[in-house]
């Protein structure tokens, strides 16, 4: 067989180096070509990761046993010999960027698997890569300042589940630098500046939201094949909104990144919520920020255990102190109380407006007040049980007004009572006591001190003079906790107390619980998990929107934004894609047939979404932990896979 010359560029030799020419015959297999190539290059190094890339056809020649003839390669083929793993700049859900060595030759599905293994994210099938939104042309300076965490040197472990070392995967524990990266991955980021939120891209309309989904990479092809180059930027995001088997114990990174994605979705108004919901989201963010800063280790210890420990300690102390008489013991066991002069105002009763001063005693879950301290041993003027009440702040730090507004349920309705405190100190402890009492807890509850603390820090946030901030970690601009719409709508003075109000419901949560709560509320939003694509239904003359969710398809009228129709997957008989006319056809039970062509996204993306969700739904039944990759490709692959 006639030998001919095949020239191959070797990437490692540099872009300017001339291609190496080897003499081959058509029945030589790819492996042989590589061997010749390596010999001729006379470079001694590990070439095992290298493979041939066929530039014109945009495809890898990975089957080394195939002959050149079988591959259809002739002398004019522009081949490049390059490593299969190359660095990539990866944008994480939390907004930070990693530099990571990833596989450019395997399917994107595989690549994501590798990335997730590296980052210690379980259930990688829920994530995928997408091209970032082109940023508006900013000043060069900012681009340079963008921090990049380099993980390209970190060796990939071969074990299926990385062993933990110091609470992090062993490959992160190698150096302080990588440890820092892991912390960045597993601990949520501090709140962004409100200006930064405003500057980022907001999808303004349904169509904008739909456009985001046109950016997903094709899971069944490789990065190179999709035109992604070395050091390009891609985003790693949760793509399928059904999070299987979330286990805080193992999912530190997954949980954190999920939270970050949710947080940004809310801050950027990618998903709509009501004002009350936004305030609650803000409160939980505040709580999470605070906890992440103060106790980054909480992820590992469960709150229940802490409680138990402290309870045991408490008991020990009590038993140790048992040489005192039983009577003393009993006294020790009685609940602590608060005693002070406060002013009370009951809007209903008093005709002459004004606060009257009394001696107040807070014990268990009720407030009693007396004419004076001296009379506090006798019968109180009134005793108010606070269980089930609502305690709202009525505070103006600048005006030195520290009032607690109590709405106390009674058989006849709610009684409104105002308590006025003298100063911040007094207010913090009484407010904390009221809060606990409203939940039926007494002052003896372990959360009392932390409640006092959080009220103080919220007061600090309202201080008009920013220079007086002493505790930096606590001072967070509440505007950075809500989306720009609410930032514009409310002044800090208005926003802070409302977030504080919402905060009282979540202040007791541990970091993990707070993250989970945030995710739960996010998932409970009506619009949660809907990925939008603009489509044109067969027989229709206008564009409409197709919403793809974990369990159904939604047809949405583009003009009104109303749901026109929903189809559930479990009524779906089959779906087909006509790749020639790029049309998706779906048949449902009861002879319901729909067909549409996709306007904003490729129909492969829509196909992959539907197939992907069906794949996700098969997971719960399959108890095994192993990922059925074959099934995934079968459901999402399209004609190339068959």
């Amino acid at each position: 067989m006639a030998a001919w010359d095949l020239s191959v560029a070797v990437e490692d030799l540099g872009a300017d180096a001339p291609p190496i020419t080897v003499s081959v015959t058509s029945d030589l297999h790819i492996g042989g070509v590589i061997l010749k190539l390596v010999e001729k290059s006379q470079v001694k190094r590990d070439w095992s990761d290298h493979a041939l890339w066929w530039e014109q056809k945009q495809q890898w020649l990975l089957r080394t046993a195939w002959t050149l003839e079988k591959c259809g390669i002739q002398a004019d083929a522009g081949l490049i010999f390059m490593p299969q793993h190359k660095p990539l700049r990866l944008g994480l859900p939390n907004g930070l960027n990693l530099r990571l060595r990833v596989c450019f030759s395997g399917t994107v599905f595989r690549t994501v698997l590798g990335i997730c293994k590296m980052l210690n994210i379980r259930r990688p099938e829920e994530l995928s890569l997408l091209r970032p939104v082109e940023e508006k042309k900013r000043k060069k300076v900012r681009d340079l300042s963008e921090e990049l965490y380099d993980l390209t040197e970190v060796p990939l472990t071969s074990v299926s589940r990385p062993c933990l070392y110091n609470g992090m995967p062993a490959h992160f524990a190698d150096s302080p630098k990588t440890e820092k990266v892991y912390k960045m991955l597993s601990v949520s980021q501090p709140a962004p500046a409100p200006e930064a939120i405003a500057k980022l891209y907001h999808p303004a309309s349904v169509v904008d939201k739909a456009h985001i989904h046109s950016r997903w990479l094709d899971s069944s092809r490789s990065l190179m094949e999709q035109g992604v180059q070395e050091n390009d930027r891609l985003w790693l995001r949760f793509k399928y909104y059904c999070f299987h088997d979330l286990e805080p114990k193992y999912d530190a990174v997954r949980l954190t990144q999920m939270y970050e994605q949710a947080r940004w979705a809310i801050l950027l108004e990618d998903i709509d919520c009501t004002e009350e919901e936004m305030l609650l989201f803000g409160a939980i963010q505040y709580h999470i920020n605070k906890l992440s800063l103060s106790e980054p280790q909480t992820m590992t210890s469960s709150p229940a255990m802490d409680d138990l420990d402290s309870a045991l300690q408490c008991l020990e102390v009590k038993l140790d102190g048992a040489n005192s008489s039983p009577q003393d013991m009993l006294e020790n066991l009685t609940a602590p109380e608060l005693n002070d002069y406060l002013k009370i105002f009951r809007p209903k009763r008093l005709t002459l407006k004004g606060y009257k001063q009394y001696w107040f005693k807070f014990k268990d879950a009720s407030i009693s007040y007396y004419k004076s301290k001296e009379e506090s041993l006798g019968e109180p003027i009134q005793q108010i049980n606070l269980k089930g009440c609502e305690a709202a702040p009525d505070v103006n730090v600048a005006g030195q007004k520290f009032c607690i507004k109590l709405l106390i349920p009674a058989p006849e309705g709610m009684n409104e009572v105002y308590l006025r405190c003298e100063n911040e100190e007094q207010y913090s402890s009484w407010m904390a006591a009221c809060r606990l009492a409203s939940k039926g807890k007494s002052l003896a509850d372990s959360s009392f001190q932390s409640e006092v603390q959080s009220i103080r820090s919220f007061l600090a946030m309202q201080q008009t003079n920013p220079n007086t901030h002493t505790d930096d970690s606590m001072s967070i601009n509440t505007h950075s906790l809500v989306s720009p719409r609410y930032s514009k709508k409310y002044k800090t003075k208005q926003l802070t107390p409302r977030i504080l109000e919402a905060y009282q419901n979540v202040a007791q949560l541990s970091l993990t619980d707070a993250l989970l709560r945030f995710l739960q509320i996010w998932q409970a939003l009506p619009d949660f998990g809907i990925s939008l694509v603009v489509v044109r239904f067969k027989g229709s003359r206008k564009d409409e929107v197709l919403g793809i969710t974990p369990n159904r398809l939604i047809r949405i009228d583009l003009g009104v934004g109303e749901v026109v129709k929903t189809w559930r997957y479990n009524n779906m008989r089959q779906w087909n894609v006509n790749w020639d006319i790029r049309q998706v056809a779906i048949e449902f039970d009861g002879n319901v047939n729909i067909a549409f062509s996709c306007v904003t996204a490729d129909c492969k993306i829509v196909h992959e979404f539907i197939g992907g969700y069906i794949f996700m739904s098969t997971r719960s039944r399959e108890q095994s932990d192993t990922l059925n990759e074959e099934l995934f490709h079968k459901l999402t692959g399209g004609h190339e896979a068959l």
């Binding site: 059904c242 999070f243 979330l246 709509d272 919520c273 009501t274 004002e275 009350e276 919901e277 609650l280 009590k318 038993l319 048992a322 040489n323 039983p326 009577q327 013991m329 009993l330 066991l333 089930g388 609502e390 349920p409 009674a410 058989p411 006849e412 309705g413 709610m414 719409r485 419901n505 989970l516 995710l519 739960q520 509320i521 996010w522 998932q523 409970a524 939003l525 009506p526 619009d527 369990n551 934004g561 929903t566 479990n570 009524n571 719960s620």
Partner: protein, 681 residues
């Protein structure tokens, strides 16, 4: 209600006395106890000639007694358990202790029982302090070990803590109106959930225990009604009632309670056409429940619709477009869109409950009678803080009320449902079993039998847990005492009440419930004792430690078991009242009552072997009694953790009931005995 309060305080005093006297009889070991106990009970009641008490029906009193006893036993058992845990450390001679409770009293000298009752009744005494003081130091001087003193101190403290806790526990006497208009009175303490109380009522009424049974409160003044959720503590909402309240607690079937789990499509696919909803396949229903309740977050049905809102203060009702979200109910303000950002929050669910309104058309001139109300549970009278909403039809009202409950209670609702289902399934199985037993022709006294097993079943939930646990905790007691030990809490019921009505009740349910349960019956001959034996013991969750501990306690005393073992097995117990009660409490939880006893006999005493075979031939239609080989025993042992689904193959027929308790050494004993028996044949 206010006189009930008074009554209760009277009653408590009486109970106190009564229990003190009772304590002497029930708790200390007295050989002839079973007969003397009965006597004591009648004595006790004869003494109680207080007026207030007379107002209560006898049955109520029994019930209250049972509750009280259960309470007492509860604390006592806790203390006993603690004691037990301490004891090994110091190697204390048991009799030396002033605060010796259960375990010691059973071992110790005749004097210690006298002390016992005092301490037992203490939790109900007003001031725990005096009891703390009795210094038993003189006794200890003999031993004069510092350790002991330290021990004593710790004991005292624990006792004090326990009593403090007990003294703080709020208890209410609640009159529950039954579905037939009659009423029952029971005591509820603040730790009991509605589920507990329902179990209690199931036991007392012998109803079919289906998932629809519920407790609800009515407020006649506001014309409201609300079904309690099963995870709520019953005492909480009741404490909100005013003293002169005419509110009632009802025990009734409410189909709306768990409708959302039976027909989720009605709530989650309400927008779809009626036909699709009606023709929903069971599989799809399950899927819907799974989707909405089993994920990381509970999904609230996305309700929206025009409802009438009663304007504050005014008499008019105004229409508004309302939307339900997980975070609350919202409405669309005039001229605004339905998008989330424009919605105005109408109410959030943290501090309010949802109630059905009754006949609001009359009361408030509502457009329809299909109204629901949101209010703080404490509000009992007309107030501007109550929110009234009115729907076009009953269907819409149900949709909203259920949707609000899902939003408010979330996962608990589903958990409650699952618990109810389990409970119902077990009960149905037991009812089947009862029906089966009654139909066996060879049973001489079917009624008594049915009654006994019914009680065993009814007792399953709570109180009985104590006796079993106690046996486990106690050091092996002298043989003759055993029956006495098991007895204490249940007797009041078995001995006195079982009246005809429950029986009549019970006859009807099987007809409806049998078919539903059939699929879960593992074998083809359902009504025989064999299949019952194959069924899981009623409450499998009942502390497995206890059940594993109890068999060893059973083993040592051969004479007594033998005494009534065959009697219970062949079922003609001549003195039914005094003897039948004992079996249910003990085997009821770890093992189904009748079969085990004969089966026990071969283990302990092979002389009684003749007893089982005839039974087997009865059942097995002439099949030769296959002597279960040792391996089957071990297989049974393995099956214990997952009692539920194990469908034992026929040859094991006689073993499963034995296998159930699953004590390791016990099993090997059994295996040995079986092997021996085989060898003999």
């Amino acid at each position: 209600m206010d006189d009930i309060d008074a009554m209760f305080s009277d009653l408590l005093g009486e109970m106190d006395l009564l229990t003190q006297s009772l304590g002497v009889e029930t708790l200390p070991p007295e050989p002839p106890s079973s007969s003397s106990k009965e006597m004591n009970f009648s004595m006790g009641f004869a003494d109680m000639n207080v007026e207030s008490l007379n107002e209560l029906e006898e049955n109520d009193l029994d019930a209250l007694m049972a509750d009280l006893m259960a309470d007492l036993n509860d604390t006592e058992e806790k203390l006993g358990g603690q004691k037990e845990a301490e004891a090994p450390h110091t190697d204390l001679p048991p009799a030396s202790h002033g605060f010796s409770f259960y375990p010691e009293s059973s071992l110790s000298t005749p004097t210690s029982p006298e002390r016992g009752p005092n301490t037992f009744s203490a939790p109900l005494a007003d001031s725990p302090a005096p009891i703390l003081s009795p210094p038993t130091l003189p006794q200890h001087a003999k031993l004069s070990m510092e350790e002991i003193e330290a021990q004593m101190k710790a004991d005292k403290i624990k006792l004090a803590l326990e009593k403090l806790k007990e003294a703080k526990v709020k208890k209410l006497v609640v009159k529950v109106v039954m579905h037939d208009g009659s009423s029952k009175t029971l005591m509820v303490d603040e730790r009991q959930t509605v589920r507990d109380v329902l179990d209690n009522l199931f036991e007392k009424t012998h109803c079919d225990c289906n998932v629809d049974w519920s407790l609800s409160e009515t407020n006649p003044e506001l014309q409201l009604e609300r079904g309690f959720e099963e995870h709520e503590n019953l005492v909480d909402p009741l404490s909100a009632w005013t003293r002169d309240s005419e509110n009632k607690v009802l025990f009734q079937e409410r189909p709306d309670k768990y409708e959302v789990f039976k027909n989720p499509q009605n709530f989650y696919l309400w927008k779809k056409d009626k036909k699709t909803i009606k023709d929903m396949k069971d599989r799809d229903k399950e899927l819907l429940v799974e989707e909405n309740f089993c994920g990381t977050s509970i999904i609230v049905p996305d309700l929206e619709g025009v409802l009438y809102l009663r304007e504050d203060g005014k008499k008019s009702w105004k229409q508004r477009l309302f939307l339900l979200r997980a975070s609350g109910i919202y409405y669309v303000p005039k001229g605004k869109s339905k998008t989330s950002r424009d919605l105005v929050c109408f109410v959030q669910f943290d501090n309010v409950n949802v109630y059905y309104g009754k006949e609001f058309k009359n009361k408030y001139k509502a457009p329809t009678d299909f109204c629901f109300v949101l209010k703080h549970p404490q509000i009992q009278k007309e107030s501007q803080y109550i929110k009234y909403l009115c729907c076009d039809d009953a269907w819409t009202m149900n949709l909203w009320v259920t949707g609000i409950r899902i939003a408010k209670y979330g996962k608990s609702l589903y958990e409650n449902y699952k618990t109810s289902m389990k409970k119902a399934a077990i009960t149905t199985a037991w009812t089947n079993r009862t029906a089966g037993t009654t139909s066996i022709p060879s049973t001489p006294s079917p009624t008594t039998k049915a009654k006994a097993s019914g009680q065993a079943n009814g007792h399953a939930p709570q109180p009985p847990a104590e006796p079993v646990a106690k046996v486990g905790n106690a050091p092996p007691p002298p043989p003759p005492m055993l029956p006495t030990q098991i007895l204490p809490p249940p007797p009041p019921d078995p001995v006195l009440p079982p009246p005809p009505p429950p029986l009549a009740n019970k006859k009807s349910p099987p007809a409806t419930s049998v078919p539903r349960q059939l699929p879960s019956l593992p074998t083809s001959f359902p009504p025989s004792p064999t299949s019952m034996a194959n069924l899981p013991p009623p409450p499998p969750s009942l502390s497995q430690d206890d059940s594993s501990e109890s068999p060893p306690d059973f083993l040592p005393p051969p004479p007594p078991t033998l005494g009534f073992g065959p009697g219970a097995g062949s079922l003609p117990p001549p003195p039914p009242v005094s003897f039948l009660p004992p079996p249910p409490p003990d085997p009821g939880f770890p093992l189904p009552p009748p079969p085990p006893d004969p089966a026990f006999c071969p283990v302990t005493n092979r002389d009684s072997l003749p007893a089982p075979p005839p039974r087997q031939s009865n059942i097995g239609a002439g099949a030769p009694p296959p002597p279960p080989p040792p391996p089957s025993a071990s297989a049974g042992l393995q099956s214990t953790p997952s009692v539920r689904r194990t469908g034992p193959p026929p040859p094991k027929r006689t073993t499963p009931p034995l296998a159930a308790p699953g004590g390791g050494d016990f099993m090997s004993e059994l295996a040995k005995a079986m092997a021996k028996k085989r060898g003999n044949q």
